[in-house]
Symmetry: C2
Subunit: 179 residues, 2 copies
């Protein structure tokens, strides 16, 4: 019998002061829909004794890569973070999982298109009706995943899990874990 | 005899009004160092007749993916773009090329660490001495690439090619095209 379907929980909430709590909440939602949720911080405690901070960064990176290679699907928090676009670390993870052939699902707690959040200043602004840069959303569409956009109060933008749960549910349906 | 070493030119300059001109300048620098530079826009003219904008976005995405799969190495412009972090589309491309086993090189025209550009607001700010989120820089280090940081005038931040050329030179040395 195959093991449970592992779902990589990508998103900037690893930077929240209560990151592990948020990770636990996400994993509980995953379990309700038939997934084994894996939260990036599960693989590391963020320190490795007396070596310097750069070394820790490399260790965290390696731990995340190992975890992703071990996961069957990714659900990425694509909510704008520190600017008009999603978290860049999460973007790297989307590219990596897409290249590994995994289905990519995403959610954002901002409803508007990317083009509504950017002023051009002479630069071209992508206006494809996407939530973000086309390279972020392309992997979702091409891998058979989907994107959930949910409007939430500003103060809940990076913590509300309504869209996340809808996204996990969509992934469960797509992968045949739920009907 | 093997063909030339193809180098994927990743970066937000595809959004510049004179994007193709910048692409040509980057390709000329690549040629000086033994690389065949490939610029994302070479694969598409950004339109496909009378279909809507979303369709164009998908076509551009597919064209970029095909081009990357055809390239041996990536040089990514990691200069902060529309916020404290690099362009998210370029970040996706870094993750993808890393997963494909290609060496990842990067450059940024801002010298300071990521932590100097962000205010915490209760969120943890990575302080590993990296130029950006550790997921962006990890692929560079693990793939045997390197990052070049160059300080330039603000107005030249997204167009100055001094750091780009240094990065291409580093890639040429690492891949044995130059000594």
């Amino acid at each position: 019998m195959p093991g449970p379907v592992s779902l990589y929980l990508a998103g900037p909430e690893v930077f929240l002061p209560n990151a592990r709590e948020v990770g636990a909440a996400k994993k509980a939602i995953c379990a309700e829909h038939g997934f084994l949720g894996r939260f990036p911080l599960d693989g590391t405690d963020g320190t490795n004794g007396d070596s310097g901070p750069v070394t820790d960064g490399h260790a965290i990176f390696r731990s995340c890569i190992d975890m992703m290679q071990d996961c069957d699907v990714i659900v990425a928090n694509m909510t704008p973070f520190r600017g008009p676009s999603m978290d860049v670390g999460t973007a790297v993870e989307i590219g990596l999982m897409f290249a590994l052939g995994r289905p990519v699902f995403g959610y954002t707690n901002v409803v508007g298109d990317y083009s509504t959040r950017v002023t051009a200043d002479g630069w071209q602004v992508e206006d494809f009706g996407f939530a973000d840069n086309l390279m972020c959303e392309g992997p979702v569409f091409e891998s058979g995943g989907s994107i959930v956009r949910t409007g939430v109060a500003d103060v809940e933008r990076l913590t509300d899990l309504t869209g996340f749960e809808a996204c996990v549910r969509a992934a469960a349906r797509t992968l045949g874990l739920e009907t």
